[in-house]
């Protein structure tokens, strides 16, 4: 088929369960201008280099080609740091990092270990005696959402609201050509506004009375670079809350699915939990929860693998394809938890590399350690399972397993 239609085929829901043959086609074709004016890159060396290329912007306002599916533009809030370039991106990210990681708070993620284990054990314990489990609803979803709400200081009772807002916001990111985008985008904007207002007032309520959570730290922390403004705090908090669980749900579910498809490896990991950290890295390579980065734009004409990508054109970095590049990974379509030199791009790379990566890593390690013993005697009820719509944030919508 025509290489100009690759992006359309990748985003087509019909290919959600197995986009990997399309990625092989992408790597074979090199960089090709798509019918919508975007350019796709799917080879490891090129994607890795572009992740570090200062000529690429993450700010969609630098696009000259109109987006096929423009993201909702918020009139009331600044973009969060995922959609900004340095120095703004760097300033906001560093201010936010002060309450999450080194150098200011090196022990935050490590200190979460015990609490996450308790939540995972409780969820896994509740599976006892069941004959049918939906791994997404019963386990992969509640774990990360509980953890991120606790970390930020969002009351557990408000999780249903968080879920409703997140669903509306994510729905607008999805490519569904048969749907009219406008109502989706309006719903997403409304959800973003409500979520931002909700998180902003939670934070405001803690001003002057630190309570040990991240919202409280963001509003009270006064470091050498000052603090976030009110609107910056709201944008950042929305980003942390959504990105802080949405992707991890998919990583855990993709992990369970992959291991159920490789029962020998499931048994091996259950018996040797010390192999799990390396297995999670392999999952991030083999079934990354973020398949591609759709929002990069060159600030000047650049050459990628011999092709000129013009300034302002959407440039899509297909991480999941780079992760299967045979020039970088021997036998790339094999899931091998013992793989050596596994420098996957599952968390992106460069200045925008995943902020929450260390949290996602330990959550998924703990999740698999708690879940795998419970899966003894279970098999997939459907293979492939029904997938969520998004080609970007890819993962099962449900993952039913049954005894037998």
């Amino acid at each position: 088929m025509s290489p100009q239609t690759l992006f359309r085929r990748i985003t087509d829901y019909a290919h959600r369960a197995d986009p990997y043959p399309l990625y092989a086609e992408l790597r074979a074709n090199g960089v090709v201008r798509q019918e919508d004016g975007s350019y796709l890159v799917g080879t490891y060396d090129e994607v890795a280099a572009l992740l570090h290329d200062p000529r690429l912007s993450s700010d969609r306002r630098n696009r000259t080609e109109p987006d096929q599916r423009p993201l909702p533009v918020r009139d009331d809030l600044p973009p969060s740091f995922i959609g900004l370039d340095d120095p703004e991106h760097d300033r906001l990210r560093r201010l936010t990092m002060r309450s999450f990681g080194p150098p200011h708070s090196p022990g935050t993620v490590d200190a979460l270990h015990t609490g996450i284990t308790a939540i995972a054990d409780e969820l896994a314990g509740a599976l006892h005696g069941r004959d049918r489990i939906d791994i997404v609803d019963d386990f992969a979803y509640p774990l990360p959402v509980t953890v991120i709400c606790r970390l930020l200081g969002v009351p557990a009772g408000d999780v249903p609201r968080v879920r409703a807002w997140t669903t509306a916001i994510i729905a607008a990111l999805d490519f569904a050509p048969e749907q009219d985008p406008e109502p989706l985008q309006e719903a997403a904007l409304a959800a973003q506004r409500e979520m931002a207002g909700y998180l902003g007032s939670l934070a405001e309520g803690r001003r002057g009375g630190p309570s040990g959570d991240m919202l409280s730290a963001l509003v009270n922390d006064d470091g050498p670079e000052g603090t976030l403004t009110g609107p910056e705090l709201m944008s950042t908090a929305v980003l942390l809350l959504i990105a802080g669980h949405e992707t991890t749900v998919n990583l855990i579910a993709n992990g369970a699915l992959t291991l159920l498809r490789h029962p020998d490896l499931l048994v091996r990991l259950r018996e040797a939990p010390e192999l799990v950290p390396q297995a999670v890295e392999e999952l991030l390579r083999y079934e990354p929860p973020v398949q591609f980065l759709p929002q990069r734009t060159p600030l000047t004409d650049i050459e990628v693998a011999g092709v000129t990508v013009p300034r302002g054109a959407p440039l899509v970095l297909v991480l999941a394809s780079a992760n299967r590049d045979p020039l970088r990974f021997p036998d790339p379509d094999r899931f091998d938890p013992m793989r050596e030199h596994n420098q996957h791009l599952g968390f992106g790379g460069g200045a925008h590399s995943c902020f929450g990566a260390p949290l996602a890593r330990i959550e998924t390690q703990i999740a698999l350690n708690a879940l795998l013993p419970r899966l003894e005697g279970f098999r997939l009820a459907e293979d492939p399972p029904p997938y969520r719509r998004s080609p970007v944030l890819r993962g099962p919508r449900r993952l039913p397993v049954v005894r037998g």
């Binding site: 150098p103 010390e274 950290p277 999670v280 596994n342 990566a357």
Partner: protein
């Protein structure tokens, strides 16, 4: 167990500091300090740090050089 960080490869992602904060330490934004002799109580955390390094810069045991195990 001994560890070595290949500082030519290190790009300051700091995953090791998040995952084993008593062994690895960031001085300022980028300078990495670490304890090359890992105490027994930190082995599990260091194993997670080794697996997590996005550029494979943290070498442990035999890979940390002769007598490293």
């Amino acid at each position: 167990m001994r560890i070595v960080v290949d500082l030519n490869r290190c790009q300051g992602y700091a995953q090791c500091v998040f995952l084993a904060p008593e062994v690895f330490e960031l001085h300022g934004e980028e300078a990495l300090m670490y304890d090359p002799a890992v105490p027994d109580g930190q082995l599990e955390r260091v194993a997670r740090a080794v697996a997590a390094c996005p550029v494979g810069a943290v070498l442990a045991g035999e890979r940390a050089g002769p007598g490293g195990g």
